[in-house]
């Protein structure tokens, strides 16, 4: 009986190791950036754009150019989230769109040109 038990231990341990190896399949790492607009840790250039947009809104852009301002705010949120999530290419694209929008809003005060086309 002792021999039998000794013979069983080896497959039991082997089976347990195999089971543990199978159960320990790795999970992805935790994501970030889902609510990055509530945080201030953004890139310096994006911070500058955000300040320009904020100033334009204080000057009444939300009333005079409501659609463009809303679009800019949405782009700002996207840029902040992609930056925080480490999506560099997506961030670059969002940043460029946001820069164009902010420049358009700012230029309305001195130009009679209509809003520029959206860049996608």
């Amino acid at each position: 009986m002792r021999i039998c038990i000794r013979k069983l231990i080896t497959p039991i341990i082997f089976s347990a190791l195999c089971t543990m190896n199978a159960a320990c399949t790795p999970w992805p790492i935790e994501g970030t950036g889902g609510f990055a607009e509530r945080r201030s840790s953004v890139s310096p250039e994006l911070s500058d754009l955000a300040n320009r947009l904020k100033y334009a809104i204080e000057q009444g852009a939300r009333t005079s150019y409501a659609a463009q301002t809303a679009e800019a705010e949405l782009q700002l949120t996207r840029a902040q989230r992609t930056w925080d999530a480490g999506f560099i290419e997506d961030y670059t694209k969002n940043y460029q769109i946001l820069e164009v929008l902010v420049r358009d809003i700012e230029s309305h005060g001195t130009s009679t040109q209509g809003p520029r086309k959206r860049i996608n």
């Binding site: 497959p11 089971t19 970030t32 609510f35 992609t82």
Partner: protein
């Protein structure tokens, strides 16, 4: 030598002395007589004139020596600006005409001249040597005096009597020649000298007043009452100064009117009638041509016979250009191809050339070889061309009074030739035209100015010289369909007929510049002949008024200005309900277009009727309403009106999220209407103010997710209550998404929620530990989620421990089973 007797010698000496003395006395007497004579003719002025006109008269300087020159430069005439001789003297040169009396200054005098002194002791600057003694006159005093003149009608006397209020004022001599004296009554003084009048007045007043010692009567002013009638601007009685002339009288009557005949103006004085040539006076300035005016004279200015028997306003310049002939019998008439045909005054010795020149010369179309001249009914022909080339005066016919000259037209001569073609009928300039070289039908029609608007151009007829007929269709030819224009030969005639008459006048006969076009919802649209005195109300009446469905609140007027049409709008409905000034009605002029729009019958009608509704008077409603579309909208309607007109929201309408886009305002503005809350509260302030141009959208409660693109949605799978595709907005987080999907189920592995991101440079999976987040609230642990991503909520069975225990259980069972079989086998 015989010695004289001493007594006789004494006698002789005495006689000689007496003779010398007598001569001296005679000489002295003669000078005294001259002085007396001049003293009578140059009486002293007792008081200064109140006014002296430019035509002030001085007494006669006539002399008896016929050898004296007719004109003397009277440098000795001094003018004094005030009474005393020590005052400023102005020496002037004035012409004296010795053979005429009375003499007048022809040089204007200063207005402030109060007296005139003629110093005849100073020798005049004479053109020739003259016997000086002829001018050695005594120093004459002042010329003429009012006090010595007879009183006339119009004179004004000043009668002063200290202490009597009724006096000390002016007393005019009225038109009856009498004065009205206070309490004493009337007294005729006209024709009396002032001294005689003083005596009469004193005698008249002495019956009423006792103390007349200080009564003083002087002439203050002389006036002239006359009447000016005829062709003057304001005929009637006028009042002139005492030295007024015909010219001042005409000026006082407003001046001459156009058509006055200047050479036959009359002055009537009682039964006497003086006719004078005022034109000659204006030409020469000779004042002697004008008759001297006297009180109650009537100046009559006759009308020129050229004014005719009908009173019309005419242009004097035009009339003048038509000739200056004042009398038909003697005037020379010229007409035909001259630049200014008319009737011209006959002058002795005038020739045909003179009259042609006065008529502005011949025109370019004149036939100067055949000028017709009619002298006393005897016709003759004058060849001006030959006269100008030869200079032979024998060719030039003598003109007589009443002659008639006719200059014919050159074309008239062409008509008789055989090298012309006639164009007749409805063309701009019918006539005969020369056919030269390759002149064709179109050339001739163009030379005739082309067809008029009334021409029937599809049946132009050509009358051949041989009597045959041909026709030509011009419109068909211009469209490239018809036959080419017929060949035109000498002697042919082109006849362009007019359009056939109809019962109603052709609308073509009302030119666009005289008509207003009325279109739209009126009973009789069409072109209406227009006059600016009419208003838009007249126009609507003429068009039979608007129909029942006419949108009279939006009448459109297309204004024609500077070749551009500008639209203006008129709200007749408002004008009819509220009234207003007629002048506020829009001004309509010929050439305008007035359109009365039609209101749609019903929204269920075809959309064609809606297309005619102007977008700026419409409101748009779309989404979950009974009849979405475009609706006519006025300022009196509200949000609920337009919602009701669209049959209200449907059962699927999301009335909590109605959106209204307010267009046409500064900036963009969308308002959100929670109609459910309005029905709960009844608060009208929740309803937006809408106006024409706004857009109302009522969304659907049931979102149709499947219509969205995969890039625009997020898939939520796994242990979730409502897995599926969800719309995503970047202002949402994963928490919103999970909430929207009903949250994880009870068997969900909420600590291992997986997010698959599709980013630009590839895909990646990230973990979200909802359980841990719920415990810590660390938002940095929220993974980024974007449209197109996948969220998977694993089941609890997919946890490591569960897998481990399951595998372990399976392994143990297997080992146990194997060991048991092996044991049993032993």
């Amino acid at each position: 030598m015989k010695k004289l007797n001493p007594s006789r010698s004494k006698f002789l000496r005495i006689s000689l002395a007496l003779l010398v003395l007598g001569s001296m006395i005679l000489l002295a007497l003669s000078e005294t007589v001259i002085s007396i004579v001049w003293a009578q003719e140059f009486p002293s002025i007792t008081k200064p004139y109140s006014r002296i006109s430019n035509n002030f008269k001085i007494p006669d300087l006539r002399h008896s020596d016929p050898e004296l020159p007719a004109t003397i430069i009277a440098s000795q005439v001094d003018l004094f600006t005030s009474g005393p001789e020590t005052d400023r003297a102005v020496t002037g040169n004035f012409s004296f005409l010795p053979t005429q009396t009375p003499h007048e200054f022809t040089t204007p005098l200063p207005n402030d001249v109060k007296a005139i002194l003629v110093d005849l002791n100073k020798p005049a600057t004479l053109p020739t040597a003259l016997p000086e003694e002829k001018f050695r006159f005594a120093k004459a005093d002042i010329t003429g005096s009012l006090s010595e003149s007879e009183l006339r009608i119009g004179d004004i006397l000043t009668i002063t009597l200290p202490g009597e209020v009724a006096f000390n004022k002016d007393f005019p001599v009225d038109r009856k020649g009498q004065l009205i004296l206070p309490e004493a009554g009337s007294l005729v003084v006209a024709g009396m000298t002032i001294e005689k009048a003083r005596s009469e007045i004193r005698g008249k007043l002495s019956r009423i007043y006792r103390d007349l010692e200080r009564l003083n009567i002087v002439i203050k002013e002389r006036r002239l009452f006359i009447t000016v009638l005829g062709y003057v601007k304001t005929p009637g009685p006028i009042e002139l100064s005492g030295d007024g002339t015909v010219q001042t009288a005409i000026a006082a009557a407003g001046g001459l009117t156009q058509g006055a005949q200047l050479d036959r103006i009359k002055v009537r004085r009682g039964t006497q009638e003086l006719v004078f040539d005022y034109k000659k006076y204006l030409d020469t300035g000779d004042i002697n041509i004008l008759p001297e005016l006297k009180p109650l004279d009537v100046v009559f200015v006759p009308a020129s016979p050229r004014t005719g028997n009908v009173q019309i306003d005419f242009d004097g310049r035009t009339l003048s250009e038509a000739g200056d002939g004042a009398e038909d019998r003697s005037a020379v008439k010229i007409f035909g191809e001259v630049n200014k045909p008319g009737t011209f005054a006959y002058k002795e010795g005038a020739t045909v050339v003179d009259i042609i020149m006065r008529a502005g010369g011949v025109s370019r179309y004149s036939s100067v070889e055949q000028i017709h001249v009619l002298n006393n009914g005897v016709p003759s022909m004058f060849n001006l061309d030959a006269y100008l080339q030869s200079g032979d005066k024998n060719i030039l016919p003598e003109l007589k009074q009443g002659a008639t000259i006719f200059v014919p037209k050159q074309n008239d001569q062409l008509k008789q030739g055989s090298n012309s073609v006639f164009v007749m009928g409805e063309v701009q300039r019918p006539g005969s035209f020369e056919l030269k070289g390759k002149t064709g039908f179109i050339d001739l029609l163009a030379n005739a100015g082309g067809p008029t608007r009334y021409a029937e151009t599809n049946n132009i007829r050509i009358l051949r010289s041989d009597g045959t007929l041909a026709s030509f269709n011009l419109p068909a030819f211009t469209e490239g369909k018809g036959s080419p224009p017929p060949e035109i030969r000498l002697g042919d005639a082109i006849f362009v007929p007019g359009k056939a008459e109809t019962n109603e006048p052709s609308w073509l006969k009302i030119a666009p510049t005289r008509a207003v076009q009325m279109i739209g919802a009126v009973n009789r649209p069409g072109r209406v002949e227009w006059s600016d005195e009419m208003s838009i109300l007249d126009l609507l009446s003429q068009a039979g008024g608007p129909i029942a469905l006419a949108d009279v609140a939006n009448i459109q007027i297309l204004k024609n200005q500077n070749d551009r049409a500008q639209p203006i709008k008129f709200n007749l409905e408002k004008f009819l309900s509220e009234g207003g000034a007629i002048s506020a009605l829009p001004k309509i002029h010929a050439g305008y277009v007035v359109n009365v729009p039609v209101l749609p019958v019903s929204p269920n009608d075809t959309k064609g009727s809606w297309a005619r509704l102007s977008s700026d008077v419409s409101i748009y409603i779309m989404g979950q309403v009974g009849i979405p579309g475009r609706y006519a909208f006025t300022g009196n309607l509200s949000f609920l009106d337009i919602l009701s007109a669209a049959n209200g929201p449907t059962t699927n309408a999301d009335i909590r999220n109605i959106r209204v886009s307010h267009r046409g305002r500064k900036g963009s503005f969308v308002s959100k209407v929670n109609l459910a809350r309005y029905f709960e509260t009844g608060d009208d302030t929740l309803l937006p103010k809408v106006r024409a141009g706004d857009v109302i959208f009522i969304p659907d409660r049931n979102k149709e997710w499947l219509e969205d693109r995969k890039e625009a949605t997020i898939r939520v799978l796994g242990a979730i209550n409502k897995p599926g595709r969800y719309r995503w907005s970047d202002d949402m987080t994963i928490l919103d998404l999970l909430a929207e999907a009903g949250g994880p189920r009870g068997d969900a592995l909420d600590s291992k929620i997986l997010v698959v991101n599709f980013k630009a440079d590839g895909e990646q999976a990230r973990l979200f530990d909802l359980f841990s987040f719920a415990k810590t609230g660390d938002i940095s642990k929220l993974p980024i989620v974007r449209a197109g991503d996948l969220v998977y909520v694993p089941n609890a069975s997919q946890s490591e421990m569960k897998i481990f225990t399951d595998l372990l259980q399976t392994g143990v069972s297997a080992v146990s089973t194997g060991a048991l079989i092996k044991t049993l086998g032993k």
